[in-house]
Amino acid sequence: MNYNRRKFLRRVSAGGLAYALSRTPGTVWGQMAGAGGFGEYRALVCVFMFGGNDSWNMIVPRTTAEYNAYKSARGGEQVVGVSTSGLAVPFASLLPIDPIGTTGAPFGFHPSMIGVQQLFQTGKAAVVTNIGPLLAPTTKAAYAAGSANLPPQLFSHNDQQDQWHSLRGRNVSKTGWAGRVADLVTSQVPNQQLAVNLSLAGNSYFQAADTVSPYVMGTNGPVAFAGFAPTTNATNVARRQTVEAINNQTYGTIYERAFAGVTKRAVAFADVVNNAINAALPLVALPNSNTGLSSLEQQLRTVAKLISQRATLSMTRQIFFVSVGGFDSHDDQNNDQPALLANISSALSRFYAATEELGVQNSVVTFTQSDFGRTLTSNGDGSDHAWGGQQLVVGGPTALLGQRIYGTYPTLAINGPDDVGGGRLIPTTSSDQYAATLAKWFGVTDAQMPQVAPSINNFTTKNLGFLV
């Protein structure tokens, strides 16, 4: 990217969007070809489960020996409603799945995840197992000897969230991997009316970029400016211009400049995005009524509506960030986890169905991230912070090679080959490999990949292969 290009991008991201906004919507395809950009629409949707999902209860082995090891490590089977019983999901309640290839061993989903089980069995979902932040392949021996090159502050919430978001390892980085992807691809999608990165869940390190600011809206999209309407009143129109003028002033502090930048983007985009969402047709899978829809499902409904308006907004590449909290199950895990996982399952399957309604199921890949996996051992009524865990990827059959478990399913045993103590498992697949696989599909080149996933060259497998 040459200097002039960067300068141009910076100007655009700083709010000089008159150019992007002035073009006639709806002609994106022809222009894309002319611009040398991407030919087809693609979107990544990150579902972040804040708190650290106890994913060893999400996909469980069903061979006798492996299940028994798991049950023992988790202090025995759960008794429904008894928080102090063991943490293991009862064998009989597991929802069986038949993964293609890999070990061929039978597995099962948590009983509250019937939606995801069905997606998996029909090839529309995949599991990436024993994954977590790594700087290089790491052995138990090296870990014990203190010679392993490790991400800093393992087992700490915000630090490990930061690792998933940024893949920074031990480097200082102010950007997240989605932010860096946006920095790399924005030059190829110059006609997009909105930033590559859109968040339904606040500011995130994941989307922080060097040049291209993400745009943050609420669960149901942006809100309109109350003082700027109706526009039939000239004073209201002028009020908008006055707000823009005030935020375009030259300010003496970094704080005023940053704040003004956000407000300028808010003013510039509120109507554009609201009009798009309002123009979207209702979805059967994620209906307009909020009744029975979780916050996560409402966020994903807004995502689906914006995707449906991709032509109007001239969008070719989008990364959405949605999130759900409550996964830090130190306490009362047996009572809390079923609803947490049911929500994930319902949200992922409803959103996938919405993409089928829109005919974009092969253009949209949804993936989960979470702080860390949790300890296999119990603290009496819950589990604590650990390291490797399992993640889900959802997409249509020509995008995703589904019904498979990627990575190496670990031995779920205390003092097993991957356990560094208390059932904290060393990941055997890295977050960098996961991000690189997603970014490659999105359009990042192999040469650019170390900018997105800085440790990727430390791993032999640079693409986990779950995306076509």
Binding site: G76, L154, S213, I246, T250, Y255, F259, H330
Partner: protein, 567 residues
């Protein structure tokens, strides 16, 4: 704006001249008549009060100025504040508990009374500094209504009252009060934490052990006294490892609800209205009795707890061990500076305050009253700000409370939060003790894309400044300015109105109107550009519609970056 800064600089210069004159005058044969120190300016008063209260007001600025001169006004104001008794929340919430409690009563609904009490205290309480420091502490030692404490409004009200009581006290006592509070016990799951049971692969819960060190006391890496990371071979040095987490996790075992006279852990698992506002009680039968590894650092008294001590002995050893770690001074001092004065304090500023934390003028460690005084009287807090990094963004709740305090906001019913469910968090993305996680509404390390991140600076409160949140808050302020003022009639008894009588009186004169609003909200310090923009907008509306003219002036200034900035 240029003129205003000049005035402020003159005031400081005058102060320095006076001091120099005093010390130099002793040897002179005919000393010049002493120049009386000037009073502090209104701009200076506003700056100080925005650091030390929930929003500067005309009246409080005038009172502060009248307390003395530039050498003693601030100090006298602080002395007054240190002596104020804390405003409380718990009695308000307790009074709202129905007696008898009807079947099916949702006790969680009483959080509304807790939030209402917070607004009453921070808007009208005279212990402004204490409440402001308690608010800062509530964003460091975080507990939240969202999650496991949804049904503990009494306990959370008591937690905030505890922070207010301890705000000018001893940090070691604060650590212990926090550790044993039922709210923290539930939130970070120390309450009910049991000793190991190897047969079932059960080990103690590590949640509180980890977060109390990471967030409430020492942080993740060793610090110099100026708050910068200590580097060895250009690498940071971790303050603890997993084995130390496990040591502390074992310390924090055996604590549950207080049941005086009860000795068995198993019999103390039920919360009541009474025991949720009492410190947790120790139950030795579930306390881990083995040795426990603590933090090692130069001068640490106990680095391994011997086997067989009582829960209380272990806790005392453990909290002493954390409290005396050299990181606590810089770690806590820097965060308090960031909450009260500036997001990017100079290392020298942090070092001066941390020095006071480590040993105040009486030789006491962790005296928060001395620390708060040092933060607010420091030259970096008091001399006229000129650096591009000076000051901070006001977090959303503080923008609201400042507007409301400056405009004497009140409802006929006297309530502040009765009109809208979910107020204030639904609009302002935060509310008292309503963080989404123990990591607070915003991280002390947050840096928005652009020059702040590029220069390795931070703007923590910017984490809440999303396009969405900025719009929501601007819309609230528009609704307040256009439709919820003393100029409107027929509003409901619970509608909070701002008093715009003075603005209405000068509404036909845009210059006077804008000056009046700038006086109240900015202490008179308004840029020429902002003033011109607001005047032009005001003048678009005929003087026959004074309400819109007044609304534009208030809305545009209260949402301008100049108001959002805490100088």
């Amino acid at each position: 704006m240029a003129r205003s800064i000049k005035i402020a600089q003159l005031a400081i210069a005058g102060f320095l001249v006076f001091v120099a004159g005093c010390s130099g005058g002793a040897g002179s044969s005919s000393p010049p008549p002493p120049v009386p120190p000037p009073p502090i300016s209104k701009i200076e008063a506003y700056r100080f009060l925005n650091q030390a209260t929930f929003g500067a007001t005309d009246a409080e600025a005038q009172r502060l100025i009248a307390l003395g001169d530039s050498t003693n006004s601030y100090s006298r104001w602080l002395d007054e504040q240190f002596a104020k008794a804390p405003s409380t929340q718990l009695p308000t919430v307790v009074a709202a508990v129905p007696n008898p409690i009807p079947a099916g009563f949702n006790i969680g609904s009483l959080h509304a009374q807790r939030v209402e009490a917070w607004f009453q205290n921070v808007l009208n309480g005279d212990d402004q500094l204490r409440q402001r420091v308690a608010f800062a502490l509530s964003e460091i030692m975080v507990v939240s209504q969202l999650g496991a404490l949804a049904n503990f409004p009494l306990s959370l009200a008591d937690y905030h009252d505890m922070l207010a009581r301890d705000a000018f006290g001893d940090y070691r006592k604060l650590m212990e009060d926090v550790t044993l509070h039922v709210s923290m016990g539930i939130y970070l799951s120390m309450l009910g934490n049991q000793k190991p049971n190897p047969a079932l692969n059960i080990r103690p819960d590590e949640n509180y052990a980890r977060e109390t060190m990471q967030l409430f006391s020492i942080g993740l890496v060793e610090l110099n006294v100026d708050g910068t990371p200590r580097l060895v071979n250009s690498q940071t040095v971790p303050t603890y490892d997993q084995s130390i987490i496990e040591g502390f996790a074992n310390v924090y075992t055996g604590w549950r609800y207080a049941y005086p006279g009860v000795t068995l852990f198993a019999n103390a698992g039920r919360a009541t209205l009474t025991n949720q506002v009492q410190p947790m009680q120790a139950y030795a039968d579930q306390h881990s009795t083995g040795t426990k590894k603590l933090l090692s650092y130069a001068g640490a008294a106990v680095t391994t707890i011997p086997a067989g001590q009582t829960p209380a002995q272990d806790l005392a050893n453990a909290l002493d061990n954390i409290f005396n770690h050299p990181n606590v001074g810089p770690f806590i001092s820097k965060q308090l500076i960031q909450k009260l004065v500036t997001s990017n304090p100079s290392p020298a500023y942090v070092a001066r305050v941390a020095g006071v934390f480590n040993s105040d003028s009486q030789g006491r460690r962790g005296n928060l009253q001395s620390v708060v005084r040092a933060i607010l009287l420091d030259s970096d807090a008091r001399s006229a700000p000129s650096a591009q990094t000076a000051g901070k963004i006001k977090e959303p709740l503080l923008r609201l409370t400042q507007l409301w305090r400056a405009y004497g906001a009140r409802a006929a019913s006297g309530k502040y939060t009765a009109t809208a469910p979910g107020f204030p968090s639904a609009t302002f993305a935060q509310g008292p003790l309503q963080s989404g996680s123990v990591f607070n509404f915003f991280s002390p390390f947050f840096a928005p894309t652009g020059e702040i991140a590029n220069q390795n600076l931070v703007a923590p409160e910017m984490q809440l400044a999303t396009e969405y949140n900025n719009t929501q808050i601007m819309n609230f302020f528009w609704a307040q300015a256009i439709a919820r003022t003393t100029a409107q009639t027929g509003l409901g008894a619970d509608v909070v109105v701002i008093n715009t009588t003075q603005e209405q009186a000068v509404a036909n004169d845009s210059e006077a109107l804008v000056n009046r609003v700038a006086d109240k909200l900015l202490g008179g310090q308004i840029s020429a550009e902002l003033k011109a923009s607001v005047k032009a907008q005001v003048n678009l509306t005929a003087t026959t519609v004074p309400n819109t003219r007044v609304a534009d002036a208030i809305y545009l200034i209260a949402t301008a970056p100049e108001f959002v900035l805490q100088r």
